[in-house]
Symmetry: C2
Subunit: 208 residues, 2 copies
DNA sequence: GAGTCGTGCAAGCAAGCGCTTGCAAACGCC
DNA sequence: GGCGTTTGCAAGCGCTTGCTTGCACGACTC
């Protein structure tokens, strides 16, 4: 839009995100970013002025690339639809876990810098929240549960799983795909949307 | 034990944890740590040799201070017992959220440095896991749910709530105490341990 | 052909970093 | 009184950091 496309510019943004994810502000020095992008350090400053502006631009650029996976407008099979959607979401978070962790730590010191990346989880959460409302409205669930808390609970399970799975293997002995199915199954039971055939065998844990 | 007690030493450890939580390795420079502890920078090096050793010692020292809250050996009222326990745990995580975030980001670069702090969530999770097994064994719950996943789910909800509540207020419109009660209620429903009187009104959201 | 634009290169600046050295003062202990 | 331990203070080392300057070279346009 207002910013002219440029190979150099994009290479710098990409390098910034990569190094920033790997080691935060400390690892993402202007010399290293420039080298990673195959560009002279001076060029970096000519494009972005200050390092701070470069990082902000890189965060905005990165956040703009990611779209929120939609959930069905008309829920038919909540179990299958949710498992599919959660696996997608979990996989993405797991791939981005180092960047997410760095952004979380950085958020205290630079709230504005990370605000674009924070919109992503909020949108994903809203998508799930509104889906749960639709599930209830269509009569596929029952009970007096709070949709906001239910959404937060499932998202929280996925999030902490994606963040902690590699660091705490004893906490996550189950394969991630099976664990996700378990989370979804538990949530559906909690909101009174669990079918009988689903409860019996389909979502047992494989590796207990 | 093997390390002699010392006011100076403890002041340095405390200052290290504080500055490290605020801004990671970057903010926790030896000059700043010494100043925060009210001690000369040279004294720091005389005590700990290298900065790396100081940080490791500080992490171990801090992890040793925190004990895991026990859950009842004989579950009587899971709803009340879990809500109390979760509130305690949530409150502690929320207070330590900046330190937790920094450690998570730092864990990629220095896995050994942060391993003592990682034992804490694992122990807490085991405490909940074994409690859920007891709840099932005592006949207070029913169904074929996986206790490990159930524990991870509740812990994940608490964790992501404590981490994200201040950064994403739109995701957490409910007061934390009420949200926690909601999480517990949902989990108990999921594992077939929800009582009727509990479902009716006791755990409604206050601020919808 | 002149001029503009984007880039590379060499050099350098002040500041902060982890860490070291040498010396003096204060303390408790024999 | 002497002696070892602990601390403070001043200074400095080599290094990395963010950032700047000056100059030269190629590509493109008018």
């Amino acid at each position: 839009m207002n910013e002219p496309k440029s190979e150099v510019r994009e290479a710098l943004l990409r390098a910034t995100v990569k190094l920033f994810a790997e080691g935060g502000t400390k690892a993402a020095s202007t010399r290293r970013i420039a080298k990673e992008a195959g560009v002279n350090e001076v060029t970096l400053f000519r494009h972005f002025g200050k390092k701070e502006d470069l990082i902000c631009s890189a965060m905005r650029w990165f956040a703009d690339q990611n779209r929120v996976e939609p959930l069905p407008a008309d829920p038919l099979d909540p179990e299958r639809e949710l498992v599919d959607w959660c696996r997608e979401h979990h996989q993405r978070m797991h791939k981005l876990r180092t960047l997410i962790r760095t952004c979380m730590a950085d958020h205290l010191e630079h709230p504005d810098r990370n605000s674009p990346t924070l919109k992503m989880p909020v949108q994903v959460n809203n998508e799930l929240y509104e889906y749960l409302l639709r599930v209830r409205a269509s009569g596929l669930a029952s009970g007096t549960w709070d949709a906001r808390s239910a959404a937060n609970m499932l998202m929280g399970a996925l999030f902490s799983d994606a963040m902690g799975r590699d660091a705490m293997p004893e906490r996550f002995p189950t394969a991630s795909d099976d664990a996700i199915a378990q989370y979804v199954g538990l949530l559906l039971s909690a909101i009174g949307a669990k079918t009988e055939e689903g409860r019996s065998a389909k979502f047992e844990v494989r590796s207990a």
